[in-house]
């Protein structure tokens, strides 16, 4: 059970939730989130903007759908950009297309598809991950087909242009991607491998990290990457077997294992042995100030896992379990403006909203 007092509400939905993200609020009162649903009864996917009414009278918050948009197939990855004048969404699908959606939260939360890339040959098979650059003019997409594509969209062109940065021809597959700076990004894939890319140095990854540290034990897949804007040299990754590690580009091949069965040394507490589906830096500071933490220490992070754990991990400290659900937590998002609020999608067709106090 949760170790600290925080308010949790579980709101059952009648559809499976493929992905969930907070949208940056336009006013102090309204909170919005974007949810990628999949309705198994009708085999239809949808992306909906929902208004989250916290309902201060103590009962469960209410979710009111504002608008809905139908993608061509299920959503494999959903990202948002916050620093734009209206929230932008980048949605990647299992059929290999990318859609940029803009939502107008002031006028009733309507959603419009700004642009789409779905040409043959963009990706073969599903797009496994997408990331939208802050500022929202470019996004990068990767797939297990080994393609790394850069999609740029400027203003009103409804047809996006994309540029192939790399094509590994399926010899390497990528499963996660995250921007580090306007020209750099990191990808992750099989065998706990991470790659660092720089658009200024084309032709392949600038730097590669291979998780040889898990020698002898079963290897795994990186499911999610995060990079803190103030610590661009450190790439945080979460994946199979409860593994959460950081790759400091300055100390090339030695991972900093934060959780999981990665090393032979026992002291690292094992939070979970199953898949870590998502990792994010936790901006909600409890005691210490972030700026005081030395640059070699990893900032606090939040993870969610297949065995239903939502937890905060701080280097060298006991992890703090926020939720222990009987089913998997497939994705979560920390509100940028109110980092105390976390929204999670649960395997059993429900959304959990957590408010830390």
């Amino acid at each position: 059970m949760a170790q600290n007092p925080s308010l949790v509400h579980r709101i059952p939905q009648s559809k499976y939730i493929d992905a969930i993200r907070w949208l940056s609020p336009v006013s102090a009162l309204d909170r919005f989130a974007a949810v990628a649903y999949y309705d198994t009864d009708t085999n239809s996917p949808s992306i909906e903007i929902i208004c989250v009414d916290p309902n201060p009278e103590g009962s469960s918050p209410t979710l009111t759908p504002q608008s809905s948009w139908t993608p061509p197939s299920r959503i494999s990855s959903l990202k948002t950009a916050h620093s734009t004048h209206q929230p932008l969404l980048a949605a990647a699908t299992f059929s290999g297309s990318i859609h940029i959606l803009a939502s107008d939260l002031i006028n009733g939360g309507t959603m419009e598809s700004e642009a789409t890339v779905s040409e043959l040959g963009f990706h073969s098979g599903p797009v496994s991950a997408v990331d939208l650059r802050e500022g929202g003019t470019e996004c990068v997409s990767v797939g297990e087909d080994g393609r790394v594509n850069l999609v740029s969209f400027v203003g009103d062109s409804s047809k996006l242009s994309y540029r192939r940065i790399f094509d590994a021809n399926g010899l390497v597959g990528y499963t996660a991607v995250k921007w580090a700076s306007p020209s750099e990004f990191a990808t992750g894939g099989y065998g706990f491998g991470l790659q660092w890319w720089d658009q200024r140095k084309p032709g392949g990854p600038v730097s590669q990290f291979k998780g040889n540290w898990c020698q002898g034990k079963t290897s795994g897949i990186v499911h999610s990457i995060d990079i803190h804007p103030s610590r661009k040299h450190t790439c945080l990754a979460g994946g199979s077997s409860g593994t959460v590690f950081a790759w400091d580009l300055r100390a090339q091949q030695q991972p900093i294992v934060l959780s999981g069965a990665g090393t032979d040394e026992a002291p690292i507490s094992l939070l979970s042995e199953s898949e870590v589906w998502e990792v994010q830096y936790d901006r909600y500071t409890r005691s210490s100030n972030t700026s005081n933490i030395s640059s070699t220490r990893i900032l606090p992070i939040m993870i969610c896992s297949e065995d239903g754990i939502l937890a905060v991990i701080e280097q060298g400290e006991e992890p703090l379990e926020l939720l222990a659900e009987p089913c998997a937590i497939n994705s979560f998002d920390i509100d940028q403006q109110n980092p105390s609020d976390v929204i999670c999608s649960l395997e059993w067709e429900s959304i959990a909203i957590l408010t830390r106090s």
């Binding site: 080994g146 399926g170 040889n212 290897s219 199953s274 067709e349």
Partner: protein, 712 residues
């Protein structure tokens, strides 16, 4: 499915209702323009059919030749949507699993202490906790939203729509889970009917529907006491024990109005006297909800005493002289018939109630308030059914008969027929809780069921239902592992059948394998996934999964295919693509199979690159070392011998001094010899090198040998 008995005693496992409902028609929606020539029907997931519709060959080119549509069979439960059923299924996992683990702990404890009864005193608490958890899933308790301003004319509060499923579960809970205290059962039934009488309104007339109808009329009535329905409805509500509704309605009587109070004093006194008597009715129950009328008694002697006293007061009022002074005829008759109901007049009760459950409850309330024990309740129910026979029985009615008749088989069959496999599986836990007889009946292994018990059979059936839906299959394992005989095998089949295309789903299956330590299934799933990815051109993913499965056989097979493309593409430009794959494989040769060669080949290529860049002797020495180790390695395919040597011509002809010593050169020469022999075989694949390659390699090796001998 477990061995479904055929021909053994002719008993069908699952009772099938004999009444045939006529054929169901499902329309097909397809967009084919040309006439249909052929149909092919197969089962899809769950209870849907996959129908392939083939059009007759048409002259129009771009017309689709066929279409596949899915037809969902059966409307399911009209009361509860599919999504709601799934929510119930998800929610019942934790209570069920908790109860199973407590059961296992209790039985292992009793084995150790040689105690005959495995379940301790707190066992009833566990059962009740389980039952309450399940009950909470089926809908919230009666809505507590009391309106701020009490409308005097609203006699019946409309709460959340109750469901038959919840009503059925509450019946099971009160009879099986609450530590048997049959003293309070009649009053529990009264409360139950108050909550769920509306469920019968759809098929039968009920007191509840009468009240609802009258409520609509009430708004337009000026003088209620003149309306015969007013009195009729009140008698009915009184008969089933809804005291507060009756008292509230009595207070609507015109004699309470201030302008009439003076000239209808006696009448008002009588109305109020009846109202007071009703609200003072003694009741045998544990606790009373706040605001509910009646006086509670927990012990029987006190109750009997109070009952006699109350009855005496009613008799006194009935024979009082005030009735003759009451001028209003309807009031006089109405009130006296209500007194008859409270005095337990069988005819009044029969005419005041609508269906047999209502009649049964009115008898329990007014004729046989001291009824204890299921057998007397059962005979009373039989009598009530005779008095109020039904054309068609509601599914809850069958369940009540089964429970009162203490017939476990009937209860189970009614649960299955009326509420489906979910209900049966979860109800069995309650049925076996208190009764040794039921436990024996349900847990006994039966040869006609293929050696499994009824309990296991129903769990397997429910697990099959769960498995057939893409969202609920993940909870089927919880039920399967509680099946001793066939559960594990079916779990293995279920996991082996899951799709492997999507990594997330694949990893979820593997996670379940890990939980139940099904390592061979894990390996199998990984192999299937590996081959699937490989076939679809995702070589990296394929190699990863095959490595995880430690499938050397397939790794060696795909290695041969990889080498074909290596020979052509591993030029300097495409090297970055290979780099990732080689990194993925790691240096652990055990998990890489025949692919180990690629690793060494990459090292060799790299060092050769250094030689061409820098031309230092040190770099060249390193390159020679990796060349020798490559050539010595048995995993190096023969067809790479010549290209490798041709690539290293520069090393063999090194200007300053010979880089290879005599023995090294001899190794290379032997390999070249092997190659010449191999070329004679028909399956040899010639490498794409210039024709003079072999000769130049031979010459270089010979020269090197000479120089090396001289040097030594």
């Amino acid at each position: 499915m477990p061995g479904v008995s055929s021909g053994s005693g002719g008993g069908s496992l699952v009772p099938i209702s004999p009444e045939s409902q006529g054929p169901a028609v499902y329309p097909l929606h397809h967009c084919l323009k040309s006439p249909i020539s052929r149909l092919s029907i197969s089962w899809s997931r769950g209870n849907s059919l996959r129908v392939s519709v083939f059009a007759a060959p048409s002259s129009v080119e771009d017309d689709a030749g066929g279409e596949v549509v899915e037809v969902k069979l059966g409307g399911g439960d009209c009361e509860i949507s599919d999504a709601h059923w799934r929510r119930i299924a998800y929610g019942s996992v934790s209570p069920f699993a908790l109860l199973q683990s407590r059961k296992n702990a209790a039985s292992s404890l009793s084995k150790m202490s040689m105690n005959s009864s495995p379940y301790g005193a707190d066992w009833w608490d566990y059962i009740l906790e389980y039952s309450k958890d399940i009950n909470a899933l089926l809908g919230s308790q009666k809505s507590a939203s009391v309106p701020v301003i009490d409308d005097p004319k609203s006699v019946i509060v409309k709460g959340e729509e109750p469901t038959s499923l919840k009503a059925a579960w509450e019946l099971l809970e009160m009879f099986y889970a609450e530590k048997p205290s049959h003293l309070w059962l009649p009053e529990r039934l009264v409360d139950w009917l108050a909550d769920y009488d509306s469920l019968f309104s759809g098929t039968h007339p009920t007191v509840h529907s009468k009240l609802v109808d009258f409520q609509k009329e009430l708004v337009n009535l000026q003088v209620v006491e003149d309306n015969p329905k007013y009195w009729e409805v009140m008698s009915s509500a009184l008969a089933v024990g809804w005291l507060d509704i009756v008292v509230k309605m009595l207070r609507l009587h015109g004699s309470y109005r201030l302008d009439q109070l003076s000239n209808r004093e006696t009448e008002n006194g009588l109305v109020e006297a009846v109202a007071v008597l009703i609200s003072k009715m003694p009741r045998m129950r544990l606790d009373q909800e706040a605001g509910k009328l009646g006086e509670c008694f927990k012990a029987k002697p006190d109750f009997v005493k109070a009952w006699e006293k109350w009855r005496g007061q009613i008799n006194k009022l009935d024979s009082s002289a005030f009735w003759f002074q009451c001028a209003h005829q309807q009031t006089r008759e109405g009130l006296r018939s209500m007194l008859q109901i409270m005095l337990g007049n069988a005819n009044s009760l029969c005419s005041a109630t609508c269906h047999w459950i209502e009649l049964h409850i009115s008898h329990l309330l007014y004729i046989r308030p001291f009824t204890v024990g299921l057998d007397s309740m059962y005979s009373l129910a039989q009598k009530s059914i005779q008095l109020k026979p039904m054309a068609s029985a509601h599914r809850l009615m069958g369940l009540i008969i089964g429970i009162l008749g203490e017939n476990t088989e009937v209860v189970l069959a009614e649960c299955l027929k009326g509420f489906g496999p979910w209900m049966v599986v979860h109800a069995i836990e309650l049925l076996t809780a208190g009764s040794d007889h039921a436990e024996m009946l349900l847990l006994e292994e039966r040869p006609n069921l293929g050696g499994i018990s009824i309990e296991e059979l129903h769990r397997l059936v429910y697990a099959q239902v769960l498995s057939s839906h893409p969202l609920t299959w993940q909870i089927a394992p919880i039920y399967l592992i509680s099946c001793m005989k066939h559960g594990m095998v079916l779990l293995q089949i279920l996991l082996s059948k899951q799709p492997v295309q999507d990594n997330q789903l694949l990893l979820k299956s593997i996670e379940i394998c890990r939980l139940y330590e099904l390592h061979s299934i894990t390996a199998n799933i990984m192999k299937i996934a590996g081959v699937h990815h490989w076939k679809h051109g995702r070589k990296g993913s394929g190699v990863f999964w095959l490595q995880q499965a430690r499938d050397e056989y397939r790794l060696n097979r795909i290695a041969q295919q990889l080498f074909d493309s290596v020979g052509k593409t591993i030029s300097d430009e495409s090297f970055k693509q290979w780099e990732g794959l080689i990194q993925l494989m790691g240096s652990d040769s055990k998990t890489a199979g025949g692919l180990e060669f690629l690793h060494k080949y990459r090292d060799f290529k790299k060092s050769l690159q250094h030689v061409f860049d820098g031309k230092t002797t040190d770099a060249a020495r390193k390159a020679v070392e990796s060349l020798i180790s490559l050539m010595k390695n048995p995993s190096t395919p023969q067809r790479f011998y010549l290209p490798l040597l041709y690539d290293s011509l520069k090393l063999l002809n090194w200007k300053d001094r010979p880089l290879l010593n005599v023995s090294q050169t001899n190794i290379l020469l032997t390999k070249l010899q092997d190659l010449s022999m191999a070329r004679l075989r028909p399956d040899f694949i010639e490498s794409e090198l210039p024709p003079q390659a072999l000769n130049s390699v031979r010459l270089a090796l010979a020269t090197n040998l000479g120089r090396a001998i001289l040097e030594e």
